[in-house]
């Protein structure tokens, strides 16, 4: 699926005084949005599309941003919604395509490089990374979302709550369940 393009009209919709602000936000947020989408969808093209769509929506909604959260959290909220929509959109059978094109956990773990430790510890660490990726891939959608926001993006519980629209307690509950599943997978691997 082709990504939407940011047009001159979109840029013009941003108040002139805010164009520079938006540009700096877009530059700062794009890697984070892309990383979250990539970890969620495990598909580079899909992640790129989400990242681009996310910035377009942020650009178009710039005037409506109420600043009751940080800009980064607001952009991540858009990204979370886009990823969720993609996973749920069965009309275009995106999920099926994602499952077919998703990079397997083994491949992600194999490309992981950690300079420290012996060869044996490197192998052990890669096995652990693979186990976490596998566990994350099998989590229910909400658990996976909060897990990735926490353990990939280092977001605080309140930020995750703002980005996902959940209450802080709900976020914590989902995280506990996700961590339990991850520990179970690590225990099985050990």
């Amino acid at each position: 699926m082709a990504a939407a393009q940011l047009t001159a009209g979109d840029i013009a919709a941003v108040a002139p005084a805010c164009v520079e602000d938006f540009a700096s936000v877009a530059i700062a947020c794009r890697p984070r949005v892309f990383r979250y989408a990539l970890a969620s969808l495990r598909d580079r093209d899909a992640a790129e599309t989400v990242a681009q769509d996310c910035l377009i929506r942020a650009c178009r909604g710039w005037d409506r941003f109420r600043r009751d959260s940080s800009i980064e959290t607001w952009v991540m909220q858009i990204a979370v919604n886009l990823v969720r929509d993609r996973l749920r959109n069965r009309k275009i059978r995106f999920w099926k395509r994602v499952q077919e094109t998703a990079v397997p956990a083994e491949a992600i773990a194999a490309s992981f490089a950690d300079g420290a430790g012996s060869a044996e510890s490197q192998i052990l660490l890669k096995e652990q990374v693979q186990a976490v990726w596998e566990a994350a891939g099998n989590l229910p959608e909400r658990q996976r979302t909060v897990f990735l926001l926490r353990f990939v993006e280092d977001m605080e519980l309140l930020e995750i709550a703002a980005a996902t629209g959940m209450k802080e307690g709900t976020v914590k509950t989902h995280l506990f369940r996700a961590l339990k599943a991850v520990r179970a997978r690590l225990g099985a691997q050990a």
Binding site: P31, F34, R35, L38, A39, R44, A47, E48, I108, A109, S111, F112, A113, D114, L125, Q128, V129, A131, V132, W133, A136, L148, R150, F151, V152, D154, L157, K172, L175, F176, L179, K180, V182, R183, L186, A190
Partner: protein
Amino acid sequence: MKPHLSERQMSEWSLGERSPEVERHADGCHSCRARLIRNGQALAAFRQSARQWSERELGAADVWAVEKARPWMMSGSLRWACAVAAFVLVFGGVSVVRRNHPPAPPDSAVADALLLKQIDTDVSQAVPDSMQPLLTLVSWNGAQSN
């Protein structure tokens, strides 16, 4: 013997919520301590792997976007389509131009045409040149008499 850490306590530890009670237990319980360390290492390595992968793919995506923006970097089928279109434009254009502007006749054809015109003029004359003024006079007079 103290019971091992619960799943909840393990999760709280992973989220950075480390109560003195759990820390005391971890200090004295080799099994729980090993689990906590292994979980922490695995999650840190997972974070690192996600970031490495993203940086790699983001770089590739940017390269792909730049190549896509280059007009001369076309796919094979697009190149072929452009070649065919150029061929049609060039040769189709030539035939159209020929149809609208017929080729100029050669010099010999021009000379032949002039000669033919002169012959036509000569043949169409009813009387020789020497009698031409008389014929004009007669015709003129006849017309006058009418």
